[in-house]
């Protein structure tokens, strides 16, 4: 079970999801119409570290953060 948190403007509560890879998580999240719209422009962090490897495995207790387009300053 991993925890998915949606940061910034997405405005959705955390979700607990059964997924052992980013790929599986992608399939699950894409089923939610609203979230699916955000995914193409969102970066991802696992346990507060930015990730870029699609094939990354996930383990129980991992936290996955979804980061929308940013604009600091």
């Amino acid at each position: 079970m991993v925890t998915v948190e949606f940061l910034g403007p997405i405005g959705r509560d955390n979700m607990e999801v059964e997924a052992d890879s980013l790929e599986m998580l992608s399939k699950i999240l894409s089923k939610d119409e609203e979230i699916a719209k955000w995914l193409p422009k969102c970066a991802v962090a696992v346990n507060d570290t930015m990730v870029s490897d699609k094939n990354m495995k996930l383990k129980d207790g991992d936290k996955v953060s979804i980061l929308p387009p940013v604009c600091g300053g």
């Binding site: 940061l7 403007p9 970066a43 507060d48 990730v51 940013v70 600091g72």
Partner: protein
């Protein structure tokens, strides 16, 4: 790295940073002060920050700067920041000017592209995500 609720106390921050670095034998000290512009009918901008990743991002940059004999500082606002006040100050210091001049540009540009901070226009008290001015971070779309 310093985070503040509301607008930044610019003079206090700059004066403190300067007085702490005057004796460090840096020859160049370049701050960048971001000021909220009055446009599009906004009364303020508002910011969400995801601190854990911002801190990591900043630490990586500090290491990069130290490798060049330079040093970085940064302050940012959380929440609402009225027009004509400041939400962001960064500064670079180095022995010689060329490193500092290049670093302030690279640091601010990467900040814009990759710092986990989300900007909202505040219009009639309502927060509106400034998506048109926001940039997908490196690696965006990995779950698409």
């Amino acid at each position: 790295m310093e985070l503040y609720n509301g607008h930044l106390p610019v003079e206090e921050i700059l004066n403190r940073w300067l007085s702490e670095e005057m004796d460090s034998n840096f020859g160049a000290f370049i701050p960048f002060v971001g000021i909220i512009r009055e446009e599009g009918g906004i009364e303020a901008l508002s910011f969400d920050i995801y601190e854990p990743i911002l801190q990591k991002w900043f630490n990586q940059w500090q290491t990069k700067a130290n490798d060049m004999g330079a040093k970085l500082r940064m302050a940012h606002s959380i929440g609402d920041v009225p027009v004509h006040t400041s939400s962001y100050i960064s500064a670079v210091m180095s022995p010689k000017r060329k490193v500092a001049l290049r670093l302030i540009n690279d640091f601010v540009e990467d900040f814009k592209a990759n710092a986990p901070i989300w900007k909202y226009d505040v219009i009639d008290g309502k927060r509106v995500y400034a998506e048109d001015r926001s940039t997908p971070m490196d690696g965006a779309g990995i779950l698409a």
